[in-house]
Structure formats: C-alpha cells, structure tokens
C-alpha cells in the first residue's frame, strides 16, 4: 500500500471529524472519496498532508513504507505527497509560471550562496526548470498564460493553475480536493483526460474528493464513502452506486433509478 491510515482520529473541540479511520490506497490507483458536506473528506486530506495533527495517540499515517504522522507539511510534500485545495490557495501575487516553480521547489539544485552570486549554473538550472514547467503548462492548457499574474485568470484557469502546481511537485500521491467544482462541462472532460494521463504517463496515484458524481464514476477505480468521519462504504463505482446506505447518507434519502440517473447526468 502506498498510503495507509490506521485508527486515525481527529476532533475539534470535542467534535469528532474523523473517527478511527482505516484507509488505504494502493500504488497506481485512482481513488474517489465522497460523502456529504462535513463528512471529513477535507479533514482527511489535511491530516495526510500534515496541516492537522491527529489526536494524541490516535492513529498512524504511513506513506511509502514510512511513518509520516508527525512530519511537518513541507517534509511530507518532499516525500512525494502533492495536493490541491478546495479554495485553490494559489499564489495570487505571483505569475502562473512562478506558481508552478514554487511547486517544483524541491527539485531545484543550487544553494543560497551560488544563488546570491548569480552563478552561471544557477541560470542554467533556472532555464532548465522553466522549460520543464512550460511543458507542464502546455499539458494543462495554460501555455499562453505563463507570465500573467495568477489573480488575473478566470476561475477555471485558476483551478488549472492549482492542479498544475500540485503536478509540478512530481508527487507519487496526488490529492485533489474538488478539482471539478465550478468547471464547465468541457473543462471537466479535459480534467478527466488529464487525470487519466497523470497515472498513465507519470505513474501517479491519485485521490479525488468530488461532488460531481460523473467524475467519480468515470475516473475512479474504487470509491470510499465517508459519513460523520467514518467509512461507510468502499468498492467500485458500480457497487457504491447500488449501496443503499451510501445513497442514503449522500443524498439524504433513497432515490429511484430515474433520480440517480438525473444526478449522474449533472
């Protein structure tokens, strides 16, 4: 297993957001993570990426064979965990290219001293990684916006910047928090293509939190359903769709086939 949590618990002021969760993702998998609002999906992401610490003595997180429970976010990122945020959190005052270069931070090979003197190898290294990031921008369809401040892009483009910044880290595990929210249907298609290619060409393992069921059903191998911080179902998208408990938790009540189809079409 690439990622594994055992008995993970996190509470805020007595309110339990994640309860005794065992969750694991195999290498090369694309995993969907669904559940109603407040079910603990984003909390789980924040725990894995080290922004939150689990409650004392309440569980372990293992990544790539190493215990990462107590590591700080940047150390976890350095070990190959990349993520996006629901509210994007891109660097608004920086250009699109610079956003990606920050994501690529760990792959930059020069020290402070050579940087301060502006040595030739710093320049050539900078040129190399800039070309690399330009290719990545091309891949996500932002090639023409490299020099633009990120704040001047449209919402859909900013979503792509957030995605590209996470990809630029060249992570083993990529966690996407609602990557399709607010995108046009055409852009959702494009996003799904990108997600497929990331696994195919770059061998990334991907976890997707998403409310747009189309993405979950079409792109994911397996789906985990959370409710009130607990896992209430896991299986292929087909199995999950038919699980009454899941449908109830997710949509509040049972739906007939017609309604399920309508929800999927959205």
């Amino acid at each position: 297993m690439l990622l594994q949590t055992e008995g993970l618990t996190k509470s805020f002021d007595g309110l339990t957001a994640i309860r005794n969760l065992d969750f694991s993702v195999a290498e090369g998998e694309i995993r969907g993570l669904i559940g109603p609002n407040g079910s603990g999906k984003s909390t789980l992401f924040n725990l894995i990426s080290g922004i939150y610490q689990p409650d004392a003595n309440s569980g372990r997180i293992t990544f790539d064979g190493e215990d990462i429970t107590d590591l700080s976010p940047h150390d976890i990122a350095a070990r190959g965990v990349g993520r996006t945020f629901q509210l994007l959190r891109i660097f608004h005052e920086m250009t699109v290219l610079e956003n990606l270069l920050v994501g690529h931070h760990h792959h930059v090979r020069y020290g402070i001293l050579s940087a301060s003197m502006g040595l030739g190898r710093v320049w050539s290294e900078e040129r190399r990684i800039k070309e690399r990031m330009q290719e990545l921008l091309h891949f996500v369809g932002l090639a023409d916006f490299a020099g633009m401040p990120a704040s001047e892009l449209s919402f859909g483009q900013r979503r792509m910047v957030a995605l590209a910044r996470a990809i630029s880290m060249e992570p083993k595990l990529l966690m996407l928090d609602e990557p399709a929210a607010g995108l046009s249907p055409a852009n959702v298609e494009e996003l799904q293509t990108i997600i497929g290619l990331l696994r195919e060409r770059r061998g990334m393992t991907i976890i997707i939190v998403e409310h747009i069921l189309k993405v979950v059903i079409e792109s994911c191998d397996t789906v985990t359903v959370l409710d009130h911080g607990e896992k209430i179902g896991e299986g292929t998208p087909g199995e999950i769709k038919d699980d009454h408990r899941v449908v109830e938790a997710y949509l509040g009540r049972e739906m007939d086939d017609e309604e399920v189809r309508a929800a999927l079409a959205e």
């Binding site: 976010p73 150390d75 990122a77 608004h92 920086m94 610079e98 920050v102 930059v108 003197m117």
Partner: protein, 335 residues
C-alpha cells in the same frame, strides 16, 4: 532606449555582474561633480539607506513579515563595528564582516517571533526587540550609554585613509551596489520565489514543499546582514554614533522608503530610499514635525498607492507593452 535595455539584458545573461560593474564605473566620478563635501556625505547616506531599504524589502516586501525591529539591527551593526575597532584595534576590513555576522545572528532572534505571530502582533514583538536594543545601549556604560561612541577610525587601505566623504564614497558605493546585486539574484532565484510563496499563502507554500520557518529565518537573517553592513558603514562614515541615531523615527523613515518605493519591488525601494533620505534632510530643521509628516505620508501611501512607486512603474511598463502589442497586431492586419 529599448536598444540599451536589450544590450544590458544580453550582457547580464552572459556575465551577470557585468552591468553592475558598469554601474560602479559610471558612479565613480560622482564626488568630482558634487559642489561640496556635504553633498557627497548626503550621497553616502543615500547609499547606506539603500542598503537598509533593500534588506528590509527582502523580509517585509518579499517574505511578507512585518518587522519594526530593523533599526535595532542597524544599531547592532554600527556598535559592533565601532567597538571591535576601538577595543581590539582591528581595521575596518575586519570590523565590517564581524558586524555583518553578529547582526545576522541577531536577525535570528528578531525572526523567531515570526514563527507564531503575524501582522500587527509580529510588528509589536519586533518593535519591542528593536527598541530594547536602543534602550540597552543607552543604559550601558560600556556601550557609551547616552554619550555615544566617538573616535571611530576611518577605513584604511595600505596607508590611504578614507577620512573624507568624497573618499569613503569609494567604499560605500561599491558595497551598496554589491548588496543590490546579491538581493536581485536571491529574489530572482528559487529562494526569492519561496519568500513570495510564504508571503502569499504560508499553508499552501508548506504543502508545496517550502519549509516556511526556514525561509522566514533566512529572510530575517539576510535582511539583518544588510542592516549590519549598513550600520558598520554608517559608523565609519560619521565616526560618532549615539543611541539617538537609532530611534523609532529612523525606523519610520525606513518603513516609508520601502512602502513609498513599493513592497516587493527592488527598484522601487531604491527610489524610495533616495526620495525619503532627501526629504528627511530637507525637513531636519523641523524635527518636531518630521514624525507627523512621515507617519501621515505612510498612511496615505498605503491607502492610495498601495504598490508604491514601483507599482506605478510596473503599471506604466505593462501598459506600454500592451499598447505595443496592439499596434503590432494592427500593423499585421494592415499588411
């Protein structure tokens, strides 16, 4: 004009320090053009203030950490350099690096509160640290207390004593330009990007792999080293320092340089340093109003010109670029 820019860009790409060496050479005849020693003294002070503003801009403009303790570091630099010279009899050329290193270490102390505090709270904590330096100096006999330290030796190279503003200019000017050169390089590199990431969003900087605390400290130490260098140069320029050189009013003028020039804009903070130094000199006969004027100017700039002069320049340049692009397109259409 564009030809000159292009030539400089090419030169810079092939040998980065080249344009800076040319600048140093261009600035060499300055003292010959000045009418009197006072004018050259003013130019020296401007170069020292450029160093201070450049350093402050790294931590405040690029890394986004509001520090009001910079003047304390400036004092540490000046006093270290002066005391090392007087008590150990070493030359300026040993005192200067000593001052830079000691002040860099002090920068760690000023930087540590930034791990937990932000914005106004960080400003208060660093203000306390900076002021306590001045108060400590005023109360310590060994440091000259309120009388200050006098007879700080002039720099010397092989028997040549740099005892006039027009002579010491040849030490201050190149060092100041070297400081700008280093800061431009740092801020253009991955380290500068990490600073900006910490400023824009520390959480997503961390999840992107930037060690936030480490880069905050690097920014504080770097800016402290600039302050230390400026302090040392100042001490050996005026040869007499006392705690009143490092009051909160000086801190306000430093902040004004960076804010007027534009936070996070290297060229802007240089322009800010020049303008504010000149205004400070011109208003010296009215010390009781200086604080009022500078404080109000800072507030007005923050409200009406938040990106400062640097922001205005950037906007002008990008507008011109846009107009040129449109003209090119129109030309292409006409063809």
């Amino acid at each position: 004009m564009t030809l000159i820019f292009e030539a400089v860009r090419r030169l810079n790409a092939s040998f980065p320090p080249a344009p800076w060496l040319i600048l140093v050479i261009l600035f060499l005849p300055f003292p010959l053009l000045a009418a009197n020693q006072y004018q050259i003294h003013l130019i020296n002070v401007i170069f020292i203030n450029i160093m201070l503003a450049t350093g402050l801009n790294i931590v405040k403009g690029f890394c986004g950490q509001v520090t009001v303790g910079h003047v304390g570091l400036y004092a540490i630099g000046a006093y270290t350099s002066a005391l090392v010279c007087i008590h150990f009899g070493v030359s300026f050329w040993i005192a200067l690096p000593t001052a830079i290193i000691v002040t860099g270490l002090a920068g760690i102390i000023i930087g540590i509160p930034s791990f937990r505090l932000e914005g106004a709270y960080l400003a208060l904590a660093t203000l306390g640290l900076g002021e306590s330096v001045r108060i400590f100096i005023s109360a310590t006999e060994f440091l000259g207390a309120t009388f200050g330290i006098s007879n700080i030796p002039y720099p010397e190279i092989g028997g040549i004593v740099f005892d006039l503003p027009s002579k010491i200019y040849y030490i201050i000017m190149p060092i100041s330009l070297l400081g700008i050169f280093i800061s431009v390089n740092i801020l253009r590199s991955g380290i500068g990007r990490a600073f900006k990431a910490v400023r824009d969003d520390p959480v997503s900087a961390a999840t992107s792999g930037v060690a936030v605390r480490k880069y905050k400290l690097i920014a504080f130490v770097f800016s402290a080293m600039y302050a230390g260098c400026a302090g040392s140069l100042y001490a050996h320029l005026v040869t007499y320092i006392h705690p009143d050189n490092f009051t909160i009013l000086i801190m306000v003028t430093l902040l004004l340089m960076v804010v007027l020039g534009g936070l996070g804009h290297v060229g802007g903070s240089i322009i800010g340093a020049i303008l504010v130094t000149l205004i400070y000199e011109l208003t010296r006969p009215y010390p009781e109003y200086q604080m009022l004027v500078f404080g109000m100017a800072a507030v007005l700039i923050v409200i009406y010109m938040p990106k400062g002069i640097g922001g205005l320049i950037d906007r002008f340049l990008s507008t011109r670029k846009f107009i040129r692009l449109r003209e090119d397109k129109a030309d292409a259409a006409a063809d």
